[in-house]
């Protein structure tokens, strides 16, 4: 008689454990629902509505928002033409994000390698230094960057001072300034995941490869890179995604004319008073990121076929 009772008690205990486990997820799910899924749904709905005259939306179904992502209405010729401005902003955003990611990798990888090869004690100190930029507000840091690269700024003053150039180099309000600013802001997001991979890397493998006639470059290529690739993939994703949607950096360092997607979207909700277009652009950005990720992860997996 005792056995069925025990079995049900066991089942009950297991069921309770499962319930508790799910209960742990509730707060995060709540935040994600309110903070991410909800707004996304609102955006999707708004993108199919008509723009209100003074911002906002009219609750009338319309695909104008989506059409305007790719086409502009020429009021003189009275016809729809390809929205070159939008496309060039898309192109610039993708280009700058790719450049930012590559530069961040170029600077971040050696940094992570350096930290990972320090003694265990000093590693934490180095990691601490990496996080210092996070102590200050992004806007303030970006304005500080402006001071450094503007025509009368530190860089140009020094270069003129030592006689390397006569005229200041125009860096501020160019794509270079935007890329520079984004690399600075997102570099830690590249360093930390690569470091995390590198910390687990067994550096004795480097000796083994040297021992087997591999030169430095080949050791890097054949042994280190394949094994820290998960960190490189994660770091690149973490830098690429926020770069694509960056808003503050291009706004401040790019001036008004070098817009990126984030600025274009902001424009529609502000001066443009075209919320459906803004919503459609936001969704487009989201799709762009997802497609890029898909390709990237695919490529990364192919590179290490059968890995693990």
């Amino acid at each position: 008689m005792a056995e069925p009772g025990e079995a049900s008690a066991l089942e009950e205990a297991e069921a309770r454990a499962v319930r508790t486990r799910w209960a742990l997820l509730v707060p995060a799910m709540l935040v994600l629902t309110i903070g991410a899924a909800g707004p996304l749904l609102v955006m999707l709905v708004y993108s199919f509505l008509e723009a209100g005259d003074y911002g906002g939306v009219e609750w009338v179904f319309s695909t104008d928002g989506w059409v305007q992502v790719f086409y502009a209405y020429d009021i003189f010729d009275e016809e729809w033409v390809a929205a070159d401005a939008h496309l060039s902003i898309f192109w610039r955003s993708v280009k700058l994000s790719v450049v930012t990611t590559l530069l961040a990798l170029f600077f971040g990888f050696p940094t992570a390698y350096f930290i990972a090869t320090r003694s265990e004690k000093s590693r934490n100190a180095w990691l601490f230094l990496i996080t210092i930029p996070f102590w200050t507000n992004l806007l303030i840091r970006t304005f500080a960057m402006m001071e450094v690269i503007r025509n009368e700024g530190v860089v140009n003053s020094v270069l003129i001072g030592i006689g390397l150039i006569d005229e200041p180099i125009q860096i501020l309000y160019t794509d270079t300034a935007i890329a520079l600013g984004m690399v600075y802001v997102y570099l830690p997001l590249m360093v930390l995941p690569i470091y995390a991979s590198m910390e687990k890397f067994d550096f004795r493998l480097v000796e083994a490869a040297y021992d087997l006639y591999a030169t430095r470059l080949r050791v890097l290529w054949r042994v280190i890179l394949p094994l820290v690739k998960p960190g490189i993939v994660a770091g690149s994703i973490l830098v690429f995604i926020p770069s694509l949607g960056a808003y503050v950096t291009p706004r401040v360092l790019g001036g008004g004319k070098n817009m990126m997607l984030g600025n274009l979207i902001e424009l529609q909700f502000g001066q443009g008073r075209n919320w459906p277009l803004g919503a459609a652009l936001s969704i487009t950005l989201l799709v762009l990121v997802m497609v890029a990720l898909l390709f990237y992860v695919r490529a990364a997996q192919r590179g290490s076929s059968g890995h693990g």
Binding site: D202, A208, D211, L212, Y213
Partner: protein
């Protein structure tokens, strides 16, 4: 040594290696000179921290000597990077590449040397056969056992046919049975490939069973180099005698010398013959050693030493008798057990100890 003249494969000449500086200075190797012959199974034996691994790393090229030089087949390689010397290493933890298959691991060195695809494939095949791992060629290194990883590490290091193969305590991670098998396997591989093996271990039994010659190291110095029999039977220093096997140390006085032997007077007043180590300075007070199996029990009053049996420990193949000597100190004897034998002596019984002729060796220090 067997007396035949062989070419020197690796030679260290007055090599010192100092790590750190100032008060943190560690002298890992202190003026070490040694010549390792072609096609030799040479073992560096010593406790941890004795410098054996440092010497190995200098030969591999992972570190460079602070003073002195390392030569490989006559060429000075002291400061060549590891990838430019024909020396390969089997690492203590194997250090197999986890992102490659067994075959890719074995082929890595050949590939880096720029061998043709066909040659790599053929050599990898031969190596897989040599270490009997053909069936697992396409496995990941994480999917094979420790013993198999060991064999892959061996094959990987042997594949480029180095002039010298270095082995850094490669058997220490294996369990007892596997270690015994691998000892035989290593001897076979060395024999079949004809490559010079330099083997590092702290395990004296491993060193004695596998080596052609052994260098015993302590505190950054090589104390004695010789065949296993030399090292065991004729230890020249206290450390060597103590580190390898069990030994009885006896204080004695030199009564007279004749060539390589001396007449020595033991504490009991008995005079016996003992072998002198080479390069022995004149001394009156010396220490002599005798192995536990080179003496036998005798009736009380007979033999060279007198004492009383303190305890008897049965070991299956032999029995150990610990005898408290009348002149102070303890003496251990190891006597082979005949089948069906019984204890001939009891604890507390007075006995004599008789040395085998030629069993005594004088220590240098």
């Amino acid at each position: 040594m067997d007396g035949s003249v062989r070419d020197i494969a690796v030679e260290a000449e007055n090599v010192s290696k100092i790590f750190g500086s100032g008060s943190d200075e560690v002298r890992a190797l202190d003026d070490v000179s040694v010549g390792i012959q072609d096609n030799e199974f040479f073992t560096l034996l010593g406790p941890s921290g004795c410098g054996k691994t440092t010497l190995l790393r200098l030969i591999a090229g992972f570190d460079h000597p602070t003073k002195g030089s390392i030569r490989l087949a006559g060429q000075d390689i002291s400061y060549l990077p590891p990838y430019r010397r024909s020396v390969n290493t089997v690492f203590q933890n194997y250090a197999l590449f986890p992102h490659m298959t067994v075959a890719q691991n074995i082929g890595f060195g050949l590939e880096m040397q720029g061998r043709s695809r066909a040659e790599v494939r053929e050599t990898v095949g031969n190596m897989l056969a040599l270490v009997r791992m053909e069936a697992l060629a396409n496995r990941r290194t994480s999917q094979i056992s420790g013993g198999q990883q060991q064999r892959v590490a061996l094959a990987r290091a042997l594949a480029p046919r180095p002039k010298v193969l270095l082995l850094d305590e490669p058997l220490s991670a294996l369990d007892y049975k596997l270690r015994k098998d691998m000892q035989i396997e290593l001897k076979r591989l060395q024999h079949e490939t004809g490559i010079t093996f330099v083997f590092v271990t702290h395990d004296q039994e491993e060193a004695l069973t596998m080596s052609d010659r052994i260098a015993v190291m302590s505190s950054g110095k090589i104390l004695q180099v010789g065949s296993p029999r030399d090292i065991y039977d004729r230890p020249s220093e206290r450390f060597v005698a103590d580190f390898i096997g069990d030994t009885n140390f006896l204080e004695a006085e030199v009564a007279g010398k004749e060539g390589a032997t001396a007449r020595i007077r033991l504490a009991s007043g008995v005079e016996v013959e003992a072998d002198l180590p080479s390069g022995m300075a004149d001394a009156r007070q010396v220490t002599v050693v005798i192995r536990p199996e080179h003496a036998a029990l005798a009736p009380a009053g007979q033999g060279e030493l007198q004492g009383r049996i303190a305890n008897i420990v049965y070991f299956g193949t032999d029995t150990h008798y610990h005898v408290d000597l009348d002149t102070g100190g303890q003496f251990t004897l190891r006597l082979q057990n005949p089948r069906g034998g019984r204890e001939l002596h009891g604890e507390g019984e007075p006995v004599g100890i008789a040395f085998e002729p030629g069993a005594l060796q004088v220590l240098r220090d």
